[in-house]
């Protein structure tokens, strides 16, 4: 376990202040329960997301680098980003600044123009919320805090596409025992198993959720999500655990759309892994934002005696 992750800079990104407020709230709630501290970055900006990255990847690198620069200025060597898109983009910026002269040049120029310190690669490590919990308190830390746990709950852990790809921007992964795998990620499985849940074998844990097609080609997104939901049900899951706001929103929205547009109903519930860990630790559903989820898991959780 690493003491260095006990207090980290926190980069919520735009989704956690918008559609994924429950992810923000539940992340902070479980941090508190586990004795971990987060300090939100001052005056943070967009990570560059998909929109900027697709038009100008170097501008995206700068935008993410500015956030890393803020973390450094605030005295942190680690920034934690729960959103897969933000996490991915900060990692990509780190990689680009380390390996690409042109990215360094653009970052230096725009930082100077904006009047702040230029971020240099290697100063701040970006971690995901999964890394944060797994590497600070781990499974034992979770077990120590369990009140009730998740016994009887079958979970399909869904990591989405940006948590592990492209492999080269995640040098800490695939490093053998204890490290995360880009082929078959397992950190979420490990933590939820420690909380008493039963993880089902889920063959689509890193498959595309169609998030990028949502606005432009909704039918493709709905079909992709429907397949994810049906596969989870075929695996016997009560719940799909998510760790990405884009995936989570997509699964919830297209679950409804699949029923309306294609007449295909699915019953599997969708919850952030932080909400599930919070429930296992006895945090109230309200504090975890369960009432904000479109996928109403409350009746199922009550039936299983988990709330």
């Amino acid at each position: 376990m690493s003491k260095k992750y006990e207090k980290v800079a926190y980069y919520p990104g735009c989704a956690l202040e918008g559609t994924a407020q429950s992810y923000d709230r539940s992340t902070k709630a479980i941090g508190k329960e586990l004795g971990l501290e987060t300090v939100e970055l001052d005056n943070w900006n967009c990570c560059g997301a998909m929109e900027v990255k697709n038009i100008d990847p170097k501008l995206q690198t700068y935008l993410s680098a500015r956030n890393l620069s803020i973390a450094e200025d605030m005295g942190f060597d680690t920034v934690m980003a729960p959103c897969n898109g933000c996490y991915h983009n900060l990692k990509k910026a780190e990689y680009d600044l380390k390996n690409d002269d042109a990215s360094r040049e653009v970052n230096e120029r725009l930082s100077s123009k904006a009047g702040h310190k230029t971020y240099e690669a290697g100063k701040v490590e970006t971690i995901h919320a999964l890394d944060w919990i797994k590497n600070s308190v781990g499974e034992e830390g979770i077990k120590d805090k369990i009140k009730g746990g998740l016994k009887g709950l079958k979970i399909a852990n869904y990591y989405g596409c940006m948590y592990t790809r492209p492999r080269h921007i995640f040098p800490e992964k695939d490093q053998g025992p204890g490290s995360e795998s880009t082929h078959k990620p397992h950190f979420m499985d490990d933590l939820l198993a420690a909380a008493g849940a039963e993880n089902v074998e889920y063959p689509l844990k890193t498959a595309c959720c169609g998030g990028a097609h949502t606005l432009s080609d909704s039918d493709t997104s709905t079909k992709l999500v429907l397949n994810l939901l049906q596969a989870a049900e075929a695996c016997g899951a009560d719940v799909i655990a998510t760790e990405c706001p884009t995936c989570h929103t997509g699964l919830e929205m297209h679950q409804i759309r699949a029923a309306k547009a294609f007449g295909k109903e699915t019953k599997v519930k969708i919850l952030y892994f932080t909400q599930l860990l919070g429930l296992a630790m006895g945090v109230s559903p309200r504090k975890l934002g369960l009432q904000e989820n479109f996928s109403d898991a409350m009746p199922m959780l009550k039936e299983k005696g988990l709330i």
Binding site: A49, M50, E51, K53, N54, I55, D56, K58, L59, V106, L110, C161, R165, P166, H183, K184, P203, L204, K205, T206, A207, C208, G210, A212, H213, L215, S216, D217, T220, K223, L224, N227, L228, Q230, A231, A234, C235
Partner: protein, 157 residues
């Protein structure tokens, strides 16, 4: 049996047809169906490679065409790796079906193999839908870039 579907609609229809078989029918031809479903996965990759003016390789990787085809499809297109694990899962479920002597496990693997290959087909067909894709979409970027005239301001960043 459709051994060489001509398009995604045929391919998806065949997967749906297999999915509709009774358990008895699935079990009685499990190995043949596993081979066919894997072949449908290969066909999706053929569509992708041909659409990008390539010739699908006859090579195999780790003993499987689908893995060699995926590698070929991902050349110069890193976002295509988003379906790498689906290809590997299709192979995994195929191996389970071939090795399993347990009816329940075989049925489950067949159903999951269908879903994995369907996901692969939906993902790739989505990437090929030029007109339907949006400006911000990570999957659409390489296709749209062909016609994209970046504004001067952006080019000069």
């Amino acid at each position: 049996m459709i051994s060489s579907p001509q398009n995604f609609d045929d391919l998806l229809a065949r997967l749906e047809e297999i999915e509709g078989f009774s358990d008895v029918d699935l079990l009685s031809q499990a190995k043949e169906l596993a081979q066919e479903i894997l072949g449908l996965g290969e066909a999706t990759l053929h569509f992708w490679i041909i659409a990008r003016d390539g010739t699908p390789t006859n090579a195999k990787k780790e003993g499987f065409s689908i893995l060699a085809l995926h590698r070929q499809g991902a050349k110069g297109e890193p976002s295509f790796n988003a379906c790498r694990e689906s290809c590997r899962e299709a192979v995994y479920q195929y191996n389970v079906i071939l090795q399993s002597g347990d009816d329940e496990q075989t049925l489950r693997a067949l159903k999951l193999q269908i879903m994995v290959v369907r996901h692969l087909a939906l993902f790739i067909s989505g990437k090929l839908e030029v007109a339907g894709l949006g400006d911000f979409c990570c999957a659409s970027k390489p296709i749209r870039q062909k016609d994209m005239n970046l504004p001067e301001m952006v080019q000069g960043t």
